[in-house]
């Protein structure tokens, strides 16, 4: 059949369509390179973090950045928004932040000129009405306030006083949080966590990176980075990302990976059975494919490979795997669980894998 593919189907393929798509891919790749370069003007290092934030942007997913204070999480988001021609808003989460502070509220407006002091309610939109929303230190607010983001993140709409308000696309939430162990934080509810496409771990900068940071931030202030992507570009990239093809074996691999993360599954590895309480769900598998599509797009491919899934598995699944008491007691991390899943779940049938490895 492959031979037939070569012999018969190729002539039938619309080379124009292919060429166009290839050109779009090239453009997207070029754009992403430019975006990374623009960000790099402000952010020192953190290439992986920037890459993964871009996955979220391309896949139309929200990204949760976790790291200690002072690692540049907020700066990264602000820089990214500066590079995009999108409306930026920021919500600083504090323990006394109320949901209406996020979504907005109806405010009574008195008409000064009218008799009888007539007034009317006007919607005072909250910071959620932006396109790139920075939810800074999201775990410092109470779960009630955190949940105010649920509808907006999932449905890209907000209901205020019974009126549903659709948010302007693209809508992209970038949240930062401190590690849960830190004082004065509230763990995000599982439903809230599941809304984030990726959970990006922000590492501490290396010595060289820190030296560079010091050099840039303690001297003369630098200017704002240039805008690289317009609104249309962003929308085009997100559309293009959805068009990336995925083969059935790759989809099956994603399904096997997510399925094996459930401790009750037959194919679950021993570590999962022991240390996991709940595995990733359907949304996790969807996120895995979407993120893998973004990876393929950034690499200029029109299809997803097994390797793309393996690259995105950790940021996609790490916040969707809930450890059991035994797992927490043994200090097992969700990243270890993901590594175990990748090691145990085969990509190809055993015979094919054995033949491919044979010399």
């Amino acid at each position: 059949m492959l031979r037939e593919l070569v012999d018969t189907q190729a002539p039938m393929t619309d080379t124009t369509i292919a060429s166009t798509f290839e050109a779009r891919l090239a453009l997207a790749r070029d754009t992403s390179v430019r975006l990374k370069r623009a960000i790099a003007q402000v952010i020192v290092g953190q290439d992986t973090v920037v890459e993964q934030v871009l996955w979220g942007l391309l896949a139309s997913g929200h990204v949760l950045l976790e790291g200690n204070p002072g690692l540049g999480k907020t700066l990264l988001v602000r820089t990214l928004s500066s590079c995009l021609d999108l409306r930026f808003s920021r919500i600083q989460f504090t323990p006394d932040l109320m949901p209406s502070d996020v979504t907005g509220t109806n405010v009574l407006v008195l008409d000064a000129g009218a008799a009888g002091r007539a007034g009317r309610f006007e919607l005072h939109k909250g910071p959620i009405f932006g396109q790139v929303v920075l939810a800074d230190e999201i775990n410092r607010a109470t779960p009630k306030t955190q949940s105010a983001l649920l509808e907006a993140m999932q449905e890209h709409a907000v209901t205020i006083a019974g009126t549903r308000h659709t948010l302007e696309e693209p809508f992209f939430v970038l949240a930062t949080e401190n590690p849960i162990e830190m004082e004065g934080t509230y763990p995000l509810p599982e439903a809230q966590l599941d809304r984030f496409l990726l959970k990006v771990a922000v590492p501490s900068p290396s010595e060289d990176e820190l030296t560079e940071i010091l050099a840039r931030t303690t001297g003369k202030p630098t200017g704002e980075p240039e805008r690289v992507l317009s609104l249309a570009d962003v929308r085009g990239l997100q559309t293009l990302c959805r068009e990336v093809a995925v083969a059935e074996p790759v989809l099956r691999y994603a399904a096997r990976l997510v399925g094996a993360s459930a401790p009750g599954a037959a194919q679950a590895p021993p570590l999962v059975r022991r240390a996991v309480r709940y595995g990733a769900g359907v949304r996790g598998a969807q996120s895995l494919i979407l993120a893998a599509k973004a990876v393929a797009l950034l690499e200029g491919r029109a299809h997803v490979a097994f390797a793309d899934l393996q690259r995105t598995a950790a940021p996609v699944l790490r916040h969707r795997i809930l450890l059991s008491f035994e797992g927490e007691a043994d200090a097992v991390t969700s990243d270890e669980i993901v590594r175990e899943l990748l090691a145990c779940v085969p990509t190809r049938p055993e015979a094919v894998e054995r033949a491919a490895q044979a010399v």
Binding site: M1, L2, L5, V6, Q9, A10, T13, D14, T15, I17, A18, T20, F21, E22, L25, E243, V244, A245, V246, A247, E248, P249, V250, R301, A302, H303, V304, A305, F306, A307, R348, P349, A351, V352, E353, A355, A356, A358, V359
Partner: protein, 575 residues
């Protein structure tokens, strides 16, 4: 690709088959089935076919092939995605197909070919070589058969000595019809065994059969000292008292040797001394009475039969002596010596020698002497001879008339032979026959290479060819019977010996060293004993271990025990 995979699997299967074939060839070699060894190589071909078949059944799908090619070419699932594109007209898929074409076009065919050989295939020559080597090797030597179990060897003997003596039991008269049947059965079993031995039989089985026959023979013999007859025998022995003339007979009876007892009675009946004969008759009658009173019916009947026989023997002896007295003038000196010995000892041998002397004397009689002999016989008859004489008054008269002729002399000779012929009791004859059969069984065991277990009279001196011999010699039971050793020679010859005195006073034996002929050996287990050759150890020994010697039974009476306690002590020790 599919062909290469099938070939690879065929090679793997062939290797597996060859390995099995090597094992099979080795197994055939050790089993010495040499001609089948080359066929073990066929297992290699079977394995190869099996491998190819397996590869056919596990043939990869197109998707598997695409995955394999992607993995080999590092094309990041381009081919796999393009394969699933089908007729879709999505731009991305169109691009993927285009790239897949490019990947396939630029791929190195050598790189994507599935490997044909694995490192395991390098070992293929080893099982093949093993098969060739095993086919070439000479077969191992046949293992030596395990040694036969003791006695399991086959014995084939045309005519085993001794069995015919058991077969002779068929001609023996039993005490009753039941015993007749048992004797017939024993004889039949002996005959059957002899025939089976002629065809071939395991030694242990033959020995077992002979042992059973000997057990049967032992069961048929009179057991005067068993539980039932012991008190009767004791009483009968008391009836014989301590008379010197009856001492030997009493001893034979105490030993349970009915044949020797019969011999002693014969001698007593032959004696000329009427008091001895009368004493013997009265002792026999008294002993029979006492035995019957004590419930020893078998012994009582044997004694009564012996008493009746005693009277006939007495008449025969009288007649013989009458004739000898009639021709005493014509007897040779040897015949006269025999006559004197016959009178004094009653020895049957002396009677036989006397009969021969009388025949010679009758031949030399002149007509005048014959006439005088006839007259003397008539005078004897007229003098009131005993009616119990074997020749009745009328017969003697007839004989006296015939003495004048040669026919009369011939008839007298025949009558003499009858008179001198020793007559045994039925019980004695039966015992003699049973003893002979038992010795035959012993000889048969010896003929089969076994050491026979001595039975009650096995090897004793009471051989019927010389009944009284060795009875006194005692100790040498295995010695062949001969005329030597008779302690009853009271003839006129020189019997003074010159035995030197042994310098060893302190060597006196304190124990009773008397060994009764026919008595049991110490520790010998008779009957079905485990130690018997050819017998199994699962049989309980039921021999005569429970029996005791008569001297032991009567020991309480002769011991130094106060009279008032004697009966109590006797009951205590009674088995």
């Amino acid at each position: 690709m599919h062909r290469r995979r099938a070939l690879r699997q065929a090679l793997t299967g062939g290797g597996f088959g060859l390995s099995l074939g090597a094992l099979a060839a080795f197994a055939l070699w050790t089993s010495r089935l040499g001609e089948l060894r080359p066929f073990a190589a066929a297992l290699g071909a079977l394995g190869a076919a099996g491998g190819a078949l397996w590869a056919g059944r596990r043939r990869w799908s197109e998707r598997d092939v695409a995955l394999y090619l992607d993995a080999r070419l590092g094309s990041a699932e381009t081919l796999t995605t393009a394969l699933g594109a089908g007729a879709a007209e999505e731009p991305a898929l169109a691009l993927v197909v285009e790239r897949a074409v490019g990947v396939l076009g630029s791929a190195d065919p050598a790189r994507v070919k599935p490997p044909l050989w694995s490192r395991w295939h390098a070992a293929l020559p080893i099982p093949a070589g093993v098969i060739v080597l095993v086919c070439w090797l000479p077969l191992p030597a046949a293992p030596t058969p395990p040694p036969l179990a003791p006695g399991a060897e086959l014995v084939r003997m045309g005519d085993l000595q001794g069995l015919r003596r058991i077969e002779a039991l068929a001609r023996l008269h039993g005490q009753n019809p039941e015993q007749d049947a048992r004797l017939q059965k024993l004889a039949e079993q002996a005959r059957s065994l002899r025939e089976r031995l002629a065809k071939g039989l395991e030694r242990r089985e033959a020995l077992s059969e002979i042992a059973k026959l000997r057990d049967g023979i032992a069961a048929e013999r009179l057991k005067l000292a068993d539980q039932q007859n012991r008190s009767g025998l004791d009483a009968a022995l008391r009836a014989f008292g301590s008379q010197q003339a009856l001492k030997d007979a009493a001893r034979a009876l105490s030993n349970g040797d009915l044949t020797a007892f019969d011999d002693e009675m014969q001698k007593l009946a032959n004696r000329a001394e009427s008091s001895d004969r009368q004493m013997a008759k009265e002792a026999l009658a008294e002993a029979a009475r006492e035995a019957r009173a004590k419930g020893a019916k078998t012994l009582a009947e044997a004694l009564e039969a012996e008493r009746r026989l005693f009277e006939r023997r007495q008449a025969h002896a009288d007649a013989l002596r009458e004739l000898a007295d009639g021709v005493t003038g014509n007897l040779s000196p040897e015949a006269r010596q025999d006559l004197n010995e016959f009178r004094s000892s009653g020895d049957p041998k002396a009677a036989a020698r006397l009969e021969e002397g009388l025949e010679r004397a009758l031949e030399g009689l002149s007509p005048e002497e014959r006439k005088r002999l006839a007259e003397r016989l008539e005078q004897r008859v007229a003098g009131g001879a005993d009616d119990a004489s074997p020749m009745s008054r009328r017969e003697i008269e007839e004989l006296a008339k015939k003495l004048a002729s040669e026919q009369g002399i011939q008839g007298l000779k025949e009558e003499l032979k009858e008179l001198a012929k020793p007559e045994s009791s039925d019980d004695a004859e039966r015992e003699q026959g049973l003893g002979d059969a038992d010795r035959g069984g012993s000889a048969a065991e010896r003929g089969l290479g076994a050491i026979p277990m001595p039975m009650s009279e096995d090897g004793s001196a009471s051989d019927r060819s010389d009944k009284s011999n060795a009875q006194k010699s005692g100790g040498d039971a295995a010695a062949p019977p001969s005329d030597a050793g008779s302690g009853h020679d009271r003839g006129a010859g020189e019997h003074r010996g010159s035995t030197p005195e042994i310098a060893g006073r302190e060597l006196r034996a304190k124990a009773d060293a008397h060994v009764a002929p026919g008595a049991l050996m110490h520790g010998a287990t008779l009957g079905r004993a485990p130690a018997r050759a050819g017998e199994t150890a699962n049989q309980l020994g039921t021999g005569t271990l429970g029996s005791s010697r008569q001297t032991e039974i009567g020991a309480v009476d002769h011991a130094d025990i106060p009279e008032e306690y004697r009966e109590q002590v006797g009951r205590y020790f009674e088995p």
